[in-house]
């Protein structure tokens, strides 16, 4: 195991470790464009210059990203030599760059800008005509390309080729005419294509969905998780003006590494949509009439209490958090005594990378808490076995059978974040929230528990689902904690799979904690 010295600090590393990685372990950041921990080494951008201290070397600087650590090596990452080398590299990189930061969407999160500021010159000595390249090319509906801003680091090429296994991008031409192109004119079609936007260190690849909507420094970023499938990729929710502006993957070594799929990334527009429920409603004379949330909760509880318990069924969405599912189940089991509870399964197409065929984000958690997939609900309603239905956090607008069965119910209570067609049939509608407005935990397909954090306040009079559920339990004299953390403790006391998880740990570090208990649970 080689031992080397970086900036005066000694470190022993595994053989094969590169200097940039060893520095990272010491918390020393070496600038990089082409190197990325999730990609193969390319060593083409040359910005990661460090000084190898050795009097025999005439030119002591070399790149750190492909330099293997050697025993006794002495590296300076911040010496005058290293900084001078980086400044020289910057000068070359900027020769043909259009320097159009004021109209570039990457500004504010562009490492070309940052390293130029840190190491570059404040003047260009280049007086020739710059080389012109492709501008405003759509690699796909979502990915826009500007060839003049590209520094040819090939991160995008390597991601498609090595991570996704779909070599859709390539380098074409040569010399100063070299640029990135979609191989043979087909679009960028892989389901993870938008990761190249995050990977691109400059403004060459930008998101058609997000660009020009907001300067990134105005965004508030909240660490959370994607709820579009059972993978639960870690994300940052970027918000501004009380709207979600974008989702970006956040590193999580156990769940999604650095990536997320395009579908999950783009599945946030419903949070900002016009059909969000801001108020509680009750059905009166065939019309939905607005009412106070407290009255609606009381009415829902009263309706549920009137029905013989064996005629009551509860749908608890597997899109809800562990805590919400736990409280919903407690209410239905202990207070209402419902004959059955279940969730609506959602199955799509999965792959062997991230996308899970299970499109419910928390079916695993629901299963652990004792809620399984609902079966034969429409038939049971038709047969008169179920006369009252409570739906927590779900809808089935496109399920004709279930929609058709609703007319046979004595009552329907719905808690949801939007006025769905399902909700429109309800006697009482309780206005809840989406993933972006709540705190709580979800359990992914492999048993990793992730945390959602509220990035936005609930709209208008809508309330956090936990508050609505606590309200219902409160009507029956059951006092439950009013924080997600408190409810989690209660859950952990009750459901053995969660017992060993320290809630504070997943919450504080925004990291997944594997629990043997969770993994062992099946």
């Amino acid at each position: 195991m080689p031992t080397l010295t970086i900036d005066g600090r000694e470190i022993t590393v595994d053989p094969g470790t590169t200097v940039i990685q060893a520095a990272e372990e010491l918390g020393i950041y070496i600038p990089r464009y082409c190197w990325h921990p999730g990609l193969k080494i390319a060593g083409n951008c040359r910005i990661c210059q460090v000084e190898v201290v050795n009097p025999k070397l005439k030119f002591p600087c070399t790149i750190a990203c492909n330099l293997m650590c050697g025993d006794g090596m002495v590296i300076e990452t911040d010496s005058d030599e290293a900084k001078k080398a980086r400044a020289d590299v910057m000068e070359f990189l900027l020769i043909n760059h259009p320097l159009d930061c004021p109209i570039c969407d990457q500004a504010g999160e562009c490492t070309l800008q940052e390293f130029s500021y840190e190491y570059g010159h404040d003047k260009s000595r280049f007086t020739e005509e710059k080389v012109h390249k492709s501008k405003r090319v759509q690699f796909s509906d979502q990915v826009s390309f500007d060839g003049e801003r590209c520094i040819l680091c090939t991160r995008c090429v390597r991601f498609c080729r090595d991570v996704v296994g779909n070599e859709e991008l390539c380098l074409v031409e040569r010399g100063d005419h070299e640029e990135i192109a979609v191989a043979n004119g087909g679009g960028l079609t892989n389901p993870y294509s938008m990761n190249v936007i995050d990977l691109c260190p400059v403004g060459a690849l930008t998101s058609s969905d997000f660009r020009f909507k907001s300067r990134v420094w105005f965004l508030e970023e909240t660490p959370s998780a994607c709820t579009s499938c059972a993978r639960n990729c870690a994300v940052d929710i970027g918000t501004r003006w009380d709207k979600v502006m974008r989702l970006k993957p956040r590193e999580n070594e156990h769940v999604n590494k650095w990536w997320m799929c395009d579908e999950g990334r783009l599945n946030y527009h419903y949070v900002n949509a016009a059909d969000r429920l801001g108020y509680a409603y009750v059905q009166q004379g065939g019309k939905l009439v607005r009412t106070s949330v407290d009255d609606a909760v009381a009415m829902a509880h009263e309706l549920i209490g009137k029905l013989p318990a064996e005629k009551l069924y509860g749908l608890i969405s597997a899109r809800l958090t562990n805590e919400e599912i736990f409280l919903a189940k407690r209410y239905l089991d202990q207070v209402a005594g419902a004959a059955g509870v279940g969730f609506l399964p959602r199955i799509g197409e999965g792959d062997d990378f991230l996308i899970s065929a299970d499109r419910n984000p928390n079916a695993r958690g629901a299963g652990l808490i004792g809620v399984s997939a609902a079966k034969g609900l429409a038939a049971d309603i038709k047969a008169g076995k179920v006369k009252g239905l409570v739906i927590f956090g779900d809808s089935f607008d496109h399920d004709e059978e279930l929609m058709g069965a609703l007319a046979d119910l004595d009552f329907l209570v719905v808690m949801d974040y939007r006025l769905s067609e399902t909700a429109k049939q309800a006697d009482v509608i309780l206005p809840g929230v989406t993933f972006a407005e709540k705190e709580g935990s979800i359990t992914n397909i492999d048993g990793w528990v992730s945390k959602l954090n509220p990035a936005l306040p609930p709209p208008a009079e809508a309330r956090r689902n936990l508050d609505l559920l606590a309200g219902l339990l409160g009507r029956a004299g059951q006092d439950v904690p009013d924080t997600a953390e408190g409810v989690f403790r209660l859950l952990a006391e009750t459901v053995s799979a969660f017992t060993d998880i320290s809630y504070g740990e997943i919450f504080a570090a925004s990291r997944q904690v594997a629990t043997d208990a969770v993994v062992k649970a099946d």
Partner: protein, 164 residues
């Protein structure tokens, strides 16, 4: 495919290409020799041929496209039957390459880099990097024959010979 028959390699070239592939320890080593033959045969390399060739050599369209665009001998636009390649690097430039280019363009009625062959499909012109004949500047490559020390008078003669 090459002439639109949907098979790669085209029937008439299959035996030859199989032979080229057999010459090398690795299939992809045959990429450039085969591209050169395709360029010669069809005066350009089509997207369909690149895809077909990628499959034939067990590589990716991205790899083939990278190679085709890297080398100026390959063209995705159809060249004339005769292709004139003028060197524009330093020595030739100093010794009048610019003037020669105008002459060729004028006499053949076709612009360099236009990708178009002349009206009759006979000629096309490109300019490019050093041919390694600096001591004979200015020089041109006519089809695959290099000619040095070109004077304006020689331009007519070259064209006449090509027209036969």
């Amino acid at each position: 495919m090459a002439e639109g028959n949907g098979v790669f390699p085209p029937d008439n070239l299959k035996a030859e290409f199989d032979g080229i592939v057999a010459r090398y320890p690795k299939k992809t080593a045959a990429l450039i020799p085969i591209l050169m033959r395709l360029q010669e045969e069809f005066q350009h390399i089509t997207t369909e041929d690149m895809d077909g060739l990628a499959a034939y050599l067990d590589t990716t369209p991205a790899h083939v496209l990278g190679v085709v665009t890297f080398y100026t001998m390959f063209s995705q636009k159809k060249r004339g039957k005769h292709h004139i390649y003028l060197c524009k690097t330093l020595s030739c430039h100093i010794r009048g390459a610019e003037e020669l280019l105008s002459l060729f363009e004028e006499k053949l009625g076709v612009k360099a880099h236009s990708g178009d062959a002349s009206g009759d499909g006979e000629f096309s012109i490109d300019t490019g990097e050093c041919l390694g004949l600096c001591e004979q500047a200015p020089c041109v490559l006519v089809d695959d024959q290099a000619i040095g020390n070109i004077t304006p008078e020689m331009v007519d003669q070259i064209i006449e010979e090509l027209r036969g």
